[in-house]
């Protein structure tokens, strides 16, 4: 006969309430682990979905995610010509915040070359971007429908497709437009400003007496081309040909002196070590504190429930019960409470994790480790009760 279960059955109301309370606590612990994994997954989402081998960024920067990086778009051609590189494609990144309804709405806009790569990893409904301008593919989490329009910079962009769950390293949903559109939006000088610039340059050049009118005209054209140039990108991603040597390709790009070719490994390190390390430590600290609280609660519950059972324990000893019967009752009760609370916490998170504002990633290994920790906590916590129980004298059963 299992005394632990009999006792729980008799006091089920109390037991269920306690387990739910502990379950909520463990649910928070599980979700914090999930949030950390989510941060990790979010931080690497664009890096992983791009499937590039090299990220070429501005020299001396940790761009394009951790720091700003600007490089000329036409370096793409130079990178393509490096031996070992099979393809290269420019990408532009920007965070945009607009007012959608009453609330400010943030998203991460990626501009990519329609003929290159780095665009939406998958289209779950609608289609990909088919023309050079004013079309947009958005992540499902943006909550936009196909055909919906959004005003960015000087133009309206129409949603033509929905991609799966891609987020920026900050957790904002991602939207895709063509590189040209992204550059337009990024450098959205309005037409008046451009006209003013052009006129100011023209006037300055005209004022230079040393130039012939022909030279002035030529210069005027070039200068305005430069001032209006938006041909800057944040990174150029490259893929290697099979069998190519990554360090060799990196060394070659390094030799140009103006760019930094980051491998995926280096980029991962920048994103995880630099950007989410603090969050990880913070979450780890909270988890540890909550686990300590759970341990204290379990120990207290087991201790008080042992105190409630002093008479029962004394009676059991009186009629000759072996110590293992008594130790087993207390230990099993503690373990059952832990296991049921864990189940409740896990169930709760399983039902709700998709509704969390940040991504929660439930890794089996995290769940297993937590389960083992809970078992260890329950075992250790039950010691205080067991210690008390072993000291009970059978004669204590005699008192009225």
């Amino acid at each position: 006969m299992n005394l632990a279960i009999r006792d729980i059955r008799y006091h089920r109301g109390r037991f269920i309430l306690t387990s739910i309370g502990l379950g909520l606590l463990l649910g928070v612990v599980i979700s914090m682990g999930g949030i950390y994994r989510g941060l990790f997954a979010d931080a690497l989402a664009i890096l992983n979905s791009t499937k590039a081998d090299i990220w070429v960024v501005q020299q001396n920067t940790n761009g394009p995610f951790a720091e700003s990086s600007r490089i000329p778009e036409d370096i793409t051609y130079r990178i393509r010509s490096v031996p070992g590189v099979s393809e290269a494609s420019p990408l532009s990144f920007q965070t945009i915040q607009i007012d959608k309804g009453a609330k400010p709405f943030r998203f991460f806009l990626i501009g990519y070359d329609l003929n290159g790569f780095g665009g939406p990893p998958e289209i779950i409904s609608g289609r990909g971007i088919g023309q050079k301008h004013y079309e947009m593919v958005v992540a499902a989490s943006m909550g936009m429908a196909i055909g919906e329009k959004i005003h960015l910079g000087l133009h309206d962009y129409t949603v033509v497709g929905i991609t799966g769950k891609v987020v920026s390293s900050g957790g904002d949903p991602v939207a895709y437009v063509t590189l040209a559109d992204a550059q337009d939006i990024q450098f959205k000088k309005d037409n008046d400003a451009i006209r003013n610039d052009r006129e100011r340059i023209g006037a300055n050049l005209d004022a230079l007496q040393s130039l012939s009118p022909g030279q002035a005209k030529y210069l005027k054209q070039n200068m305005s081309a430069i001032t209006e140039s938006t041909h800057t990108v944040n990174t150029i991603v490259a893929r290697l040909a099979p069998g190519a040597n990554l360090p060799e390709v990196q060394a070659r790009i390094n030799r140009w002196n103006h760019f930094r070719p980051l491998s995926v490994e280096e980029q991962t390190k920048i994103l995880t070590k630099g950007m989410i390390e603090k969050a990880r430590m913070q979450l780890g600290l909270f988890r540890a504190i909550l686990l300590v609280i759970s341990a204290v609660i379990i120990a207290l519950i087991i201790y008080t429930s042992t105190l409630d059972k002093i008479k029962v324990i004394a009676t059991l000893k009186l009629i000759g019960s072996q110590n293992r019967v008594i130790v087993g009752m207390i230990l099993q009760q503690s373990l059952l409470m832990g296991i049921i609370a864990y189940g409740i916490g896990y169930g709760l998170i399983l039902l709700t994790y998709e509704k969390f504002p940040r991504r929660i990633v439930l890794e089996d290994v995290d769940l297993q480790v937590l389960f083992i920790i809970v078992i260890i906590i329950c075992t250790i916590s039950s010691f205080v009760g067991i210690r008390k129980a072993l000291k009970v004298e059978p004669a204590e059963a005699l008192g009225g």
């Binding site: 006969m1 009999r6 009629i319 000759g320 019960s321 059978p394 005699l398 009225g400």
Partner: protein, 232 residues
């Protein structure tokens, strides 16, 4: 079987509670012998040492001096015999009945009897069958699945008796088993104990301070201020 062998032998038992300046001599030089199948009463006023005698025989209260022999096994000789397994002796040879019924509140009547059998290595099925049979004999067939809180005092005490009898112990020790019951129920419990002593050939030692309850006992010991006197 040796007919002269006693179920309980107590020789020169002295129990001193406390140490140093504040000691209480609860028993001094008590000697009793009880044969198997004998129904014996221990009478005496409150504080005279009756419970001390019973718990010393019951292996839950270490005697200061003297010998205690249970069913031929020496258990105490100037203190517990070294290495003696008191728990095992308790579960195999002794049955306890107390003033308060001491049933486990979260077990049903039947489970309260079963637990005594299961800790004595009976299988669950055997324990259930024996508990059911015993409770039936004690007219508790209809209360088997009730928790102690929903039993009357007399019913609870009968369940406690069933638990004490479960392992067919050589010795049954009852400390004021009728104190919490009305006269009617008290008498019934005593009649029951008498019947069981005969049937099971167990030695039954009943402590009481109520003279009216000891009709038909084989022998009565009187305890007074730690001294035991025999009387027929």
């Amino acid at each position: 079987m040796d007919d002269c062998r006693y179920a309980i032998e107590v020789e020169n038992l002295t129990k001193i509670y406390g140490k140093g300046g504040s000691t209480v001599i609860a028993l001094s030089g008590a000697s009793i012998q009880v044969k198997p199948g004998e129904l014996v009463a221990i009478l005496g006023p409150s504080g005279s040492g009756k419970t001390t005698l019973l718990t010393s025989i019951g292996l839950i209260n270490e005697p200061t001096h003297g010998r205690v022999v249970i069913d031929g096994t020496v258990v105490a000789d100037e203190g517990w015999l070294p290495g003696i397994d008191l728990k095992r002796l308790r579960r195999e040879k002794l049955g306890f009945i107390f003033q308060a019924h001491n049933l486990i509140p979260f077990l049903t009547a039947r489970e309260n009897v079963m637990i005594a059998l299961e800790i004595n290595q009976l299988s669950r099925g055997e324990a259930k069958a024996r508990a059911t049979e015993l409770l039936g004999v004690l007219n508790l067939g209809h209360r088997m699945d009730n928790y102690p809180s929903s039993l009357s005092g007399g019913e609870a005490q009968r369940v406690a008796i069933a638990r004490a009898l479960a392992n067919k112990p050589k010795v049954i020790l009852a400390d004021e088993p009728t104190a919490a019951l009305d006269t009617e129920n008290g008498k019934n419990v005593m009649i029951l104990l008498k019947k069981l002593a005969l049937e099971n050939h167990s030695a039954i030692l009943v402590v009481t301070h109520d003279h009216r309850m000891v009709d038909g006992f084989d022998r009565i010991f009187h305890v007074n201020d730690g001294h035991v006197n025999t009387e027929s």
